[in-house]
């Protein structure tokens, strides 16, 4: 299933990008090869500095956006682009220049308008998805390495808790509740403690603590697993409970986005997550009993 979804994500994105680019080739939205009439005002005559006025390309917006430009030799005009410039100019600058400027051909000019031929834009979407893939690969590594500190902190604290017997006493308290969900974990195993701490962190919306504690629980489940590259029933149950967890307190990002409105949403979120947690338990149980099948 994971293999298929993963491949489907990649194949659909490339197909979609390809179709969009082929439609762009037909409809020519970037006006490739068609000179544009752009109004301008001169800033400095001696250095040929001027300001071009571009349409913002937003519906019902008749205002012009100013773009700084310099006329270079032989009818070449250099445009300076920043993050407020229209999208297609930013694209041109990243494809045909160094991201902040590019050169276009000046065909002719009169007192108010310039006739400019811009460089051509092709395969915009394919370029965009390639860039997204490279950027995200870099970001994923950073994200994983960013976990080092938090992982170390929680693993260190958990080690003290193990050595001082806190974990063992916690297991005694939570295992009557959790044994029903995780019948494969032997009695008095420390995994019960990590699982319950991860669940508590999830319920209270403490994402920073939940991930390291969840990984700790997964490691302990892996020690009980007899096929080291395949997920055990307990792991699947744990993952499903994690992604569908009851939320007594909403995640911090949601609080930040919703402001004071958040207090109205707490009860609906508790009810909805209760539904998803129950569904998760039922679905995992159905898979475990073979009522639902998966092919690996």
């Amino acid at each position: 299933m994971l293999n298929k979804i993963w491949a489907a994500l990649i194949i659909t994105s490339i197909l979609f990008a390809l179709i969009r680019d082929i439609m762009d080739e037909i409809n020519n939205p970037y006006q490739n090869g068609i000179p544009q009439n752009i109004p301008y005002t001169v800033l400095k005559h001696d250095t040929q500095q001027l300001v071009l006025g571009f349409l913002t390309h937003q519906p019902d917006d008749k205002d012009l956006i100013d773009i700084n430009a310099i006329i270079e030799t032989d009818s070449r005009i250099k445009l300076y682009i920043d993050s407020n410039s229209p999208q297609w100019l930013q694209l041109l600058a990243s494809v045909h220049g160094n991201g902040s400027n590019f050169t276009a051909t000046l065909i002719e000019q009169n007192a108010e308008h310039m006739h400019i031929l811009f460089p051509e834009l092709h395969w915009v979407k394919l370029r965009a998805i390639t860039e997204a893939a490279f950027d995200m690969a870099e970001f994923a590594a950073k994200l994983a390495l960013g976990l080092i500190g938090l992982m170390a902190l929680w693993l260190g604290l958990m080690r003290i808790a193990e050595q001082s017997g806190i974990i063992q006493s916690m297991v005694k308290i939570v295992q009557p509740l959790l044994r029903w969900l995780f019948p494969g974990i032997p009695k008095d195993h420390p995994a019960f403690a990590s699982i319950s701490m991860n669940m508590a962190a999830n319920v209270l919306g403490l994402g920073n603590a939940a991930t390291p504690l969840g990984i700790k629980a997964m490691q302990q489940l892996q020690q009980l697993n007899n096929k080291s590259d395949t997920a055990s029933d307990e792991m699947c149950m744990f993952l499903a409970l994690n992604t569908s967890s009851v939320q007594l307190l909403p995640p911090v990002t949601l609080i930040a986005l919703m402001g004071t409105q958040i207090s109205d949403l707490i009860i609906p979120i508790i009810l909805a997550t209760t539904c998803s947690t129950i569904t998760a338990i039922i679905v995992v149980r159905l898979y475990q009993k073979g009522r639902l099948r998966c092919n690996n």
Binding site: L2, A137, L155, A231, S244, Y287
Partner: protein
């Protein structure tokens, strides 16, 4: 409730360290011993996270999401919920930052007190970025064959969305 979540971590750390001290555990030494593993776990996760996130990033950049949104909006209308919340349902299991973006955009156009934003926010709060959690949790212990974990997670997400939409409508009307 809000105070509880800010207090719980410092209190937990205090509890662990003081119990350790009382039972004559060399707390500093044991902490370092446990913390050692942090680096290797993070490094183990990298290939899994790269595989998952680059595929999702390509999917988002391709514009396929908008297409599915348009394709699904008649279904949403027929079921009687606003099609504006579909992108949240599609993107939430894939990426956290993407779904924050969707919610922020909805807030900008509709305001936080509209039913659309409330529904989307409950959807956001009720589910997790399942694919990310799967990559991190299974990546940390080098599990490649995930069996039915993804299916179960996605079915739970889907039920969370349906529950979020129904409950928000029932709760605010």
């Amino acid at each position: 409730m809000q105070q509880l979540s800010t207090l719980i971590i410092p209190l937990l750390i205090l509890f662990i360290v003081s119990v350790g001290l009382r039972r004559h555990i060399p707390v500093y030494e044991e902490f370092v011993e446990g913390a050692k593993e942090g680096f290797s776990i993070a490094v183990t996760i990298i290939p899994y996270l790269v595989a998952m996130l680059f595929a999702i990033a390509m999917f988002r950049a391709s514009g396929a999401l908008e297409f599915f949104m348009h394709a699904l909006s008649p279904v949403a209308n027929w079921l009687g919920f606003p099609p504006e919340v579909i992108p949240m349902g599609l993107i939430r299991p894939l990426t956290g930052s993407g779904s924050v973006g969707v919610l922020a955009e909805l807030i900008q156009t509709h305001g936080t007190d509209s039913l659309i934003v409330k529904t989307a926010a409950v959807m956001f709060g009720s589910t997790e970025t399942t694919l990310y959690v799967l990559a991190v949790y299974f990546g940390a212990i080098n599990i490649r064959k995930t069996r039915y974990a993804l299916q179960a997670g996605l079915i739970a997400d889907f039920s969370g969305f349906i529950a979020a939409i129904t409950i928000t409508y029932w709760y605010f009307s």
